[in-house]
Symmetry: D2
Amino acid sequence: MPDSLPGSCACAVMTAFNQPLAVQSFAMPRDLAPGELIVRVELAGICGTDVHLHKGQLAIPLPLILGHETTAFVAAMGASDTKDWLGRPLSVGDRVSFTVGRTCKECRYCRVYRLPSRCLKRQAYGVNTPCAQPPHLLGGYGQYHFLHADTAVFKLPDDLPSEALVGAGCALVTAVHGFERMRMSWGESVLIQGSGPVGLAALAVAKESGGRPIIVIGGPRERLERCRRFGADLTIDIDEVPDPQQRLRMVREATDGLGADVVVECVGMPVAVAEGWDLCRDGGKYLVLGHYGDAGPIALNPHVITRKELTVYGSWGSEPQHWVAAIELLRTRRERYPFHELITHRYPLAGVNEALAAVASWQTGKAVIVPNG
Amino acid sequence: MPDSLPGSCACAVMTAFNQPLAVQSFAMPRDLAPGELIVRVELAGICGTDVHLHKGQLAIPLPLILGHETTAFVAAMGASDTKDWLGRPLSVGDRVSFTVGRTCKECRYCRVYRLPSRCLKRQAYGVNTPCAQPPHLLGGYGQYHFLHADTAVFKLPDDLPSEALVGAGCALVTAVHGFERMRMSWGESVLIQGSGPVGLAALAVAKESGGRPIIVIGGPRERLERCRRFGADLTIDIDEVPDPQQRLRMVREATDGLGADVVVECVGMPVAVAEGWDLCRDGGKYLVLGHYGDAGPIALNPHVITRKELTVYGSWGSEPQHWVAAIELLRTRRERYPFHELITHRYPLAGVNEALAAVASWQTGKAVIVPNG
Amino acid sequence: MPDSLPGSCACAVMTAFNQPLAVQSFAMPRDLAPGELIVRVELAGICGTDVHLHKGQLAIPLPLILGHETTAFVAAMGASDTKDWLGRPLSVGDRVSFTVGRTCKECRYCRVYRLPSRCLKRQAYGVNTPCAQPPHLLGGYGQYHFLHADTAVFKLPDDLPSEALVGAGCALVTAVHGFERMRMSWGESVLIQGSGPVGLAALAVAKESGGRPIIVIGGPRERLERCRRFGADLTIDIDEVPDPQQRLRMVREATDGLGADVVVECVGMPVAVAEGWDLCRDGGKYLVLGHYGDAGPIALNPHVITRKELTVYGSWGSEPQHWVAAIELLRTRRERYPFHELITHRYPLAGVNEALAAVASWQTGKAVIVPNG
Amino acid sequence: MPDSLPGSCACAVMTAFNQPLAVQSFAMPRDLAPGELIVRVELAGICGTDVHLHKGQLAIPLPLILGHETTAFVAAMGASDTKDWLGRPLSVGDRVSFTVGRTCKECRYCRVYRLPSRCLKRQAYGVNTPCAQPPHLLGGYGQYHFLHADTAVFKLPDDLPSEALVGAGCALVTAVHGFERMRMSWGESVLIQGSGPVGLAALAVAKESGGRPIIVIGGPRERLERCRRFGADLTIDIDEVPDPQQRLRMVREATDGLGADVVVECVGMPVAVAEGWDLCRDGGKYLVLGHYGDAGPIALNPHVITRKELTVYGSWGSEPQHWVAAIELLRTRRERYPFHELITHRYPLAGVNEALAAVASWQTGKAVIVPNG
């Protein structure tokens, strides 16, 4: 362990669902093996999924350091010749980000089905990596983060601000993955249900894919304004247009009369799905992108899928190559999609509970923890 | 009108939902325009959809002559140089079948979206073609059938028995269409939910597509025996294995432990869909093929689609090229898929209500009306 | 025939290959049947293919009125309730364009294979529609044009200048079709071989599809400047960089080191194909878009396709829905892709030979005939 | 090193192109690391590619032990808990096979493009793994074979004879990969050019995929007889029908008049490609499967690709999951595709030059070396 590293590290720990997180101190890992890294956290994004996790909507092990949207600086390296996922040499001080999912590369999903996002032994920092045992530092809500040798680390280009990456968050790589599964063509009309981080990310990818027009149903007003800045051709405020039939009429009017070619669910509330099927033209595509949390079953009519000849796609998490695409998108299209503007709230580590509450109540654009701030 | 045609024609007419059909006499159409045909019905299949229509599960106009699975002989031609859909000359006496759906070729679905099965003005013989006005004879449950000039008529090859075509019925072209939308690869494991006509048709198409193993969940026992004759590698009798968890275990055991690559819903009961999603491996494909009737919404969890990264396909009706494929399949693979064996019950026109009741209670393989028998 | 139409019409006629076209006068068609139209030509684009046709590179019947990129005004209608391809009512005076290809809707390509661009009986105005017999007026190089009832006519929106449509020409619908066959994803790197009309159209579609970066190899300098205005990220002037190895290095440098994900051939010279395969990364896509004329075989090594795991796509002509897409693209993205700027030269009908010569020598952007100017 | 292993091992070594191979003795590797294996070779197939390699058609390093189609018995394990690629525990004595290609899992092809068959650092046993340095035993033409820890090893099921696997050889996994890239649908007509091992493998995969009819052009007569046993519906003997125009007529007659939907090149002679494009219907698919060796360029007309709207696919080598598919195919469809019958000639190690000569002159079905026989 380099001298420059402190002997201990403060982290915000979730010890029980629906209870306040507590800042605790952990011993700094020692004796890094080749490929292992310790990184000093710069920004730790608070994802909507963190709120779901905090509510206990997924079965995850505790105690846990949340945080899976992180930029950081390399602080210690197990070997001096470690490279990032694209083969670029890493050095102490380099600014990096990393995929949170680590896969076994041995199970049938990793090997035969080429679906590593469903690896049977998938480990996701900040999600299912409890912190009771060393190396402890396995989530973003802390001063330092330990990275296993098989983590996909990305050295960040100088012309990519950390705020852009964390502002886009895991929503963007999720959207990149989802659109890869669904595939759309330029010129298709796209309706996005939801104007939060996932909706905004889907909007950017739909825009890049040549979607036209792109319509967003959501709220509140400020989020829809941001959607228009990101390129939405039409936004429908769910508070101003509470009647689904009227929303349907508005969408049809904007899309040749029969509904959108592509509808992307980015709300996370199951009730949106039935409306989304209605908003889709016959033969259209529907991408369920926002249902990471299990909010339980709702009334859905499979006859609609048959009669309308819909294709419904699901997508979960992301793979490292989606990070490559997202980083390039953020870097080259910064002006078109100013994701860095999303970061509206910054909290010190001690403010983590306040931060979670703000995100839960949709009061923020994007909130970040600045643990070394 | 040729001298050989009688002046009137007996047909079974549905005048009200859930009421017995009545045999009525209609005047034979006269003065056929070029391309129009009158055909003498040989076999009129009774589709499960007819039962749904009879129960009023779709909004259709009455009075109506049901029947959309028909073989017949050309009895009169509006022009002597009429050709079938593949360009082969037709003559009086030729044995033919025909697609029931006629499309406008002008709406956005026909023209821009290349989805004629969702034509906004789709006319389907025996489904939404009421018989009150001339030419009256617009369904299969009658002695004669009138065919508009834009009907896709197929001259039947001599080595294709009518019983095979009607035995396969519209289930086969529906399955051909559904698998075209879904696309599967050889070597994928396939689970079929349902062992009725649609399930059997899906089994045949899955088998042709190289599915391995092919598993059918259904019943009763005789139907599952037939599925095995058609090539199912494993059948699970829903009466013998009433516990969904046990069925899940059996399917996983037969499919490398994680579920089927492809699951095809051929039951028509919404409750099957939730179980079907469970039976599918992560990243798998789910084809909703059996939900022609609107049996209403059920509890479904969209989180499952997201988490398991499923792709769910809907497919409705068929297009003429699916008939080309189905006819070739029936002709060349007769021994492998003996669809002609399905026809277990034959009824005269007067027995139509008895026939419908038998189909509704799943007592038959396939029942046909022989209106000129 | 309305009183307003003259009794005769001047057209430029090709009576022999490689000989000057002659302006001749034809009788105006009379007694239009329902659906038939006579349109007064506004702009008749000169396509590079016209040059190839004039050289006799395709076997076509003579005498012929060339011209397959036309805007015009409805001058006479066989029936007052005629609609355009999208169902909008047409009136005398409406500004329209139309697809030149008319298909039989009966052959195996039209019906079974869903490939109407290869209809066995395809008629293309200005290409294989000789003018010796009435209705004579079957090409764009004339004052009036006769349109059969099955022509796909498009009423042009007021916010779409004719110059944009003719400036884009058949190159744009060809590119729309080609990219539909190939399908690319946003974020893929695209190399376009050729900076003429087809290259520029491919550039626009690649840009809409989210290609990044987009590289054009071509010349001369002015054309490459226009490519950059249309959004090319890098242009390589074939005069300045005559060495293919250096071009390969430049392309690799701009595309992560291994070549472009997508290469689009828009040159029409066979020699470009071997270089194009080199410029494509392994596993990449190659679209042969520019080989309408048959310039004969060249030396190509199929081992390259195997070893590099390339996929090579061909695409021919277009279908009406590609016009829908092209018109919408031109209308909504006028500022991004100023195709109207391409029209650099206007000729009266009498200047047709001068016009063809100018196009043949690549001296023009896009040249148009203004036959009523 | 277990006592049971001899101290040295005899192998056939290629020290120069076009020169006889020499049997040499190498020291047995010692001190295996975890995951490393030594296997005792049972059967070493002689692939047509070995002939090409021996002729120097690919730039490969010498000296080299050829042989990349091998079954073997585990003789020594670096760690007792080593598993095969599907996670099954391995023990000394287990019968196994393995993929010859080992990939770096770090380059852009491995990581970003998901195209490991084009790994920039791909090592292929028996192809580019010279034997001068320890561990020497890196090809199949020897008594023992060393396997690196990252080799994809497959424990062979008891109901799969080694003769079936080696009889199918690398041709089968190549075909599995090629058809995965191309994707065909059941009911499509397939023409296979070539009746050697690659052609036979393509035939089996096309048959499994539901191709109908399947036509093979090739020779000599015995090979075509075998193709018919494997399910070809029609074979055309190139000796009996030397005129390409007549072959074209025969293919069209068997395929609805316009050519085959799918054509698969399995000849390896470039001249076949131009004929293959002719034999394909417009809009059809062409898979270049047989061009592993670089036989140089030929005259090809890219206009044909454009005009016929062909899609041409290349495919190189295979990935481990193609082995999973191939092994399952061989195991479950042994009676339909009796690949074990292909092995017509067996040679001891000392007969290796005789064996290569026999394969080069197409005198054999499949020849194998039995180095411990």
